[in-house]
């Protein structure tokens, strides 16, 4: 898996291999479908690389092992799927509060409850609003191909370190299980040569001791801490927004979709374009920070935004927040983990298109 040539990789493997290449030093995880292959991949690869792999007794343990390893400055990752990510919420809140860099992969399954394991996007709220308690955010990447899974996982480690924040890779069962050609574009990093972290713990040799904690009993200091986090979040909102556009010039209707849904959406939009409709696609690559400004600006000319989500409608909140009433916003949701075909979706787009354009005549 070390060559820089194109290879056919499963989504979960691409994540794993990229993590190894990014210098991930510790992986802690607990099995859950549909991401078992990632845990299994790490079991093999980390052993090969003489790094740390540990199957924890639970997701709770895993996220707290992440907390511990990260506090010592290690690059560290964990992965799970929806119910397991729910169990990690307390830990994630702590990690965010303590500003510990970490990479968390959620290969979503259908919820709520045990749900099922077909592709789903119903953890959007949890990922973007912080399912845990308190004012915090995690940087959320939503890749739409195995190549992008690989690329964004690699970057996630750098962003986590740069902002001292948990970064989430949000994929679904299809992204995780699917194989596609992948090329690793950069050289693997040697964990021993990563820049050192000034804040990290490692024994107080040659300096005074320090501690990392989230308990701040003094309300004034706690408020200060929270505003500090807030300002960091604002910096991230300014700098880290990513999205992809397709055919947006002159579009009357913009479809907004991410991940697997965006792939379907792109094909559906193409079909519509072939039929001379002015339809475009906005694909947020970061879900938080969400491309607010961009969609706001697009709302100056776009008449309607159709969000397509494999959920009962979660991202639509962010689209509406971005649009600020300057254009219509509607939802095509498929919360049952039945991935629609491009043909189906293109019919939905067409219907919406005709209706909107009629209103405008």
């Amino acid at each position: 898996m070390k060559s820089e040539t194109k290879q056919l990789l499963r989504g979960t493997e691409a994540i794993g291999e990229s993590a190894v290449r990014a210098g991930c030093q510790c992986y802690f995880g607990y099995p859950i479908t549909p991401q078992n292959e990632l845990t299994e991949y790490m079991a093999r690869r980390m052993l090969e690389e003489n790094r740390v792999f540990l199957q924890s007794e639970s997701e709770l343990a895993a996220i707290n092992m992440v907390l511990g390893a990260s506090a010592t400055g290690k690059r560290v990752m964990t992965s799970s799927s929806s119910p397991g990510i729910s169990l990690k919420q307390e830990g994630i809140s702590f990690i965010a509060a303590m500003e510990l860099p970490s990479v968390i992969v959620n290969v979503m399954r259908g919820g709520p409850g045990l749900g099922n394991i077909a592709p789903s996007q119903s953890d959007y709220y949890q990922a973007t609003r912080g399912g845990g308690h308190g004012d915090y955010r995690t940087l959320v990447y939503a890749p739409a191909s195995v190549q992008e899974l690989a690329d964004l996982t690699y970057e996630a480690f750098d962003k986590a370190d740069a902002y001292r924040i948990p970064v989430m890779i949000l994929a679904d069962g299809m992204m995780g299980q699917m194989m596609e050609p992948v090329t690793f574009k950069t050289k693997p990093k040697d964990p021993k040569k990563l820049p050192s972290k000034k804040w990290a713990l490692g024994g107080s040799k040659g300096r005074s001791s320090r501690f990392i904690r989230s308990l701040i009993l003094n309300p004034d200091l706690e408020e200060e801490h929270n505003w500090r986090l807030y300002r960091k979040h604002q910096r991230i909102e300014e700098r880290e927004v990513r999205f992809e556009e397709y055919n947006m010039t002159g579009a009357n209707i913009a479809v907004v979709a991410y991940g697997t849904a965006a792939r379907i959406a792109k094909a559906a939009v193409k079909r519509c374009v072939d039929k001379n409709m002015h339809v475009g696609l906005i694909r947020p690559i970061t879900l938080w920070p969400f491309p607010m400004k961009h969609i706001y600006e697009a709302a100056g000319t776009v008449k309607h935004f159709l969000t397509f989500e494999m959920s009962a409608g979660q991202m639509i909140d962010d689209v509406k927040l971005a649009v600020e009433g300057r254009a219509g916003v509607s939802l095509y949701g498929r919360p049952g983990r039945v991935v629609p075909t491009p043909a189906e979706l293109s019919r939905v787009i067409t219907r919406t298109y005709n209706k909107i354009m009629k209103d405008y005549e």
């Binding site: 007794e57 506090a71 307390e90 024994g203 040799k205 308990l215």
Partner: protein, 254 residues
């Protein structure tokens, strides 16, 4: 009387910060803190030790210990230690946990850390009660004992039985050193320090999981004077929690 008097080794070890603790008068935590700090000082491991304080009365332990520390969410000390130690086998890692923290919400984490033989040390302060949150029943609360959540006294059929943590962990393959002591006497305090030293040594020797369970007074929530608390440990607690080395897989001296 007017002879020149010289201060013996000061009470405060160099591994403790110069801070007044927030603990109640007569609280065992204060003493145990000092014992742990003394052992760290004596073993010369201050600059390679990482401590993990709990949620519990000892939540502010990082204000007292002069070593690197990282807070664990309630009950997860063993998991946090595991993360640290796996990533940094060269460090000395200990967590400091209460009985609610370790024996209730943190049960799974401590059992599995012990079972894996994680090479870490746990200072387990058993005061038979949730101190910090105001005296609720703990897994180690004694039968008949009244707490705010066992208002007519704990009964086995309703609130369950006291949990003997050392005996439970002894069953597991990876636990290397388990001892139960008490800080309710001069002797007990000396013995406790020895046990703590032995536990850290166990880790330094790479022998696996070590834990010292310390019966510790909580005069506030027991609603007793510190002196009465000491007596109560002798007369009541030790019946349920007998002192001694519960498990030791090595031969090494204390």
């Amino acid at each position: 009387m007017s002879k020149v008097m010289k201060k013996r080794k000061p009470a405060r070890p160099s591994t403790m910060k110069d801070a007044v603790t927030h603990y109640c008068p007569g609280c065992g935590h204060s003493v145990i803190h000092r014992l742990v700090a003394e052992v760290i000082e004596e073993l010369g491991i201050q600059d390679k030790t990482i401590g993990v304080p709990p949620a519990g009365c000892a939540v502010l332990a990082y204000n007292y210990f002069d070593v690197d520390m990282v807070e664990a969410p309630h009950g997860r000390g063993a998991a946090v230690c595991t993360g640290i130690k796996r990533g940094n086998p060269e460090l000395v890692v200990f967590s400091y946990q209460g009985d609610g923290d370790l024996a209730a919400i943190g049960t799974a984490e401590v059992i599995h850390a012990a079972n894996r033989g994680e090479n870490i040390t746990i200072i387990f302060v058993n005061n038979a009660v949730y101190g910090m949150t105001g005296g609720q029943m703990a897994p180690t609360t004694l039968l008949g004992m009244k707490t705010t959540t066992s208002p007519i006294g704990r009964e086995a059929h309703r609130e369950g039985n006291p949990v003997n943590v050392c005996e439970l962990l002894a069953v597991l393959g990876g636990s290397a050193y388990l001892e139960r002591t008490a800080v309710n006497s001069v002797k007990g305090t000396i013995r406790t320090k020895k046990a703590i030293r032995k536990a850290f040594r166990t880790q330094l020797e790479g022998r696996g999981f070590s834990l010292v369970e310390i019966l510790s007074p909580c005069p506030t929530n027991w609603k007793m004077s510190p002196q009465k608390s000491w007596e109560w440990i002798d007369e009541v607690m030790m019946k349920q929690f007998p002192l001694g080395v519960i498990k030791d897989t090595g031969k090494g001296e204390a």
